[in-house]
């Protein structure tokens, strides 16, 4: 279990993480979602005691990470895949990590097998592809067979098969009862992996809820209704207990499908000009939620003059 309370990190005058609180429970995959620059990696580094919080605290299994005598056996982390010396072999990298935490040497070959790197274990990691480096990073995270697993952008650089492998791995680790905390800037990836979501933007928590709740609350579909008799149609639908939003030109109706709405309006003899089911994807919901918190917007059409 990971518990963050009012966690804050200020670089100079800029708050990278601004008083966030959340709890990562065991037995499920918690997705940590936010646009680039939202403070995800800073939070991850504070969890591992690498960066010192300006205020607030974060604990793992009830104590600070740095107070653990054998941290790799308690928390396995994939931070940046390239936190490696390019001249060292994959096996040597795992070997020194194992020795530092008294993890049995046999575990090194075990995790190399687990991530499918046994054939290149003796190769220098500078020659590894991005995907191989990422697999080695995951091997590092699993080395101590830890009850808590923290993965920062684990699918970066992986091919579709690798992405599916990471997804299944995260789900399996959670099913075994471990605490799994996975960060990503891709909503589509999280939708398939996470049971619970913590969404951050500009260093603050925007949402902390289960995946189904997030979908229900943010990615709803509605039926667009246009009619020259907008007011009458709205009244009619409201009388049926439907949720109707009136915007400039259209009605947004929730609670009934398009066909049923059409029949209802037709029976009362009102005109309809349009009747369309509008679905907003999770990706759209995420974009809407974080739109105001994105650090750098791309210019729409080239350079504005």
């Amino acid at each position: 279990m990971i518990v963050a309370r009012d966690l804050t990190k200020i670089y100079g005058t800029k708050a990278a993480v601004d008083g966030i609180s959340f709890t990562v429970e065991p037995g499920r995959v918690t997705g940590f979602l936010g646009p680039n620059g939202a403070g995800k990696s800073t939070t991850m580094r504070m969890i591992l005691g690498l960066d010192r919080p300006t205020a607030g605290s974060v604990t793992v299994n009830g104590h600070r990470y740095a107070d653990s005598s054998a941290p790799l056996r308690e928390v396995g982390a994939l931070l940046e895949a390239r936190a490696l010396h390019p001249g060292r072999s994959a096996r040597d990298h795992l070997r020194w990590l194992a020795v530092s935490n008294r993890i049995p040497a046999a575990r090194v070959d075990e995790v190399l097998g687990l991530v499918g790197l046994e054939e290149v274990a003796g190769k220098r990691v500078g020659k590894f592809s991005l995907g191989m480096g990422q697999r080695l990073g995951i091997a590092v995270a699993l080395l101590g067979d830890p009850p808590v697993v923290v993965l920062d952008e684990p699918v970066n650089g992986l091919d579709p098969e690798g992405i599916r492998w990471v997804r299944n791995l995260a789900r399996r680790l959670a099913a075994e009862g471990r605490t799994v905390f996975v960060s990503s800037h891709l909503m589509s990836e999280m939708a398939l992996t996470a049971d619970h979501l913590v969404v951050i933007g500009r260093g603050t928590v925007l949402a902390d809820c289960s995946m189904p709740d997030f979908i229900a609350g943010h990615a709803s579909s509605y039926v667009r209704v246009r009619s020259p008799q907008r007011g009458e149609v709205a009244d009619l639908l409201r009388r049926q207990g439907l949720d109707v939003d009136v915007s400039d030109e259209e009605l947004r109706v929730q609670g009934l499908d398009a066909a049923a709405i059409g029949e209802l309006v037709g029976k009362s003899g009102l005109y309809l000009h349009e009747l369309t089911l509008v679905r907003s994807s999770l990706e759209d919901a995420f974009m809407t939620l974080t739109a105001s918190s994105v650090e750098y917007h791309a210019q729409e059409a080239g350079i504005a003059r």
Binding site: S100, R102, R178
Partner: protein, 272 residues
Amino acid sequence: MTATVALDPHRNVPGVRKPAFPDTLHAEWIKFWSVRSTFWSTAMLFVLGAGLTTLVCALAAKDIASGAAGESPLSFVTWGMMFAQITAIVLGTLAVTTEYGTGMIRATLAAVPRRGSVLAAKALVLTGTLFVAGTVTAFAGYFGGNVFLDNHGVGVALADDGVLRSMLGSGLYLAGLGLFAAAVGLLLRHTAAALSAVLALVFVVGNMAFLLPGSWGEWTAKLMPGNAGSGVATPLSFNPGLLGPWTGFAVFSGEVAALLAVAYVVFRRRDA
């Protein structure tokens, strides 16, 4: 929600105690020797140190014997160690700065959050290696060079004044120099910056200091790290203006210790 995984960090190591400093030391030892630059730097240290001593003795033996060189043969038997200093500095710098250059430092501190232990283990591995390599190299250079000095009748014995001391002193001085470079590396976190700073301080600023006027200039020169520390590594220095070998080494050790203490305080407080 399923049952949670047991949290006991010892569960996969039956009957084994918690990891402690020897494990950190062992891990740093594996890290140090599992990159090629360590082997090549150590090999260069030996080739430069022993090889150049032998070469200069071979070339100068005739002039030393005839008195044309105007120097004692004692000044020549550790001559190559001047160049071995460079590789000791490189080795010490790289041991720290490559961790920052590659981001490895985060893996290191995630595995061992006690930063004092990490620094102590790095320092021990580095100084141990440099002491052994420096001493062995000094002996090899002495034996190689002395063959040529002997041929011209000006050979020196190990029992001669300061010879044995300079062999061990070479190991000590290179170990201290490596540690000095590692401390600068920890402060600057950048290979090129740290290497330039230490090489400039030891080889350029140290020599230029002798040009300073007056007695404060003389003392400044004597107290510069390279000038203070190198006396112990040679039986008889070419430079008569240095502190005594052990006095100088004590000053040098104090300077290394002070810098290391500053580096430690910064390292403890800084985000990785």
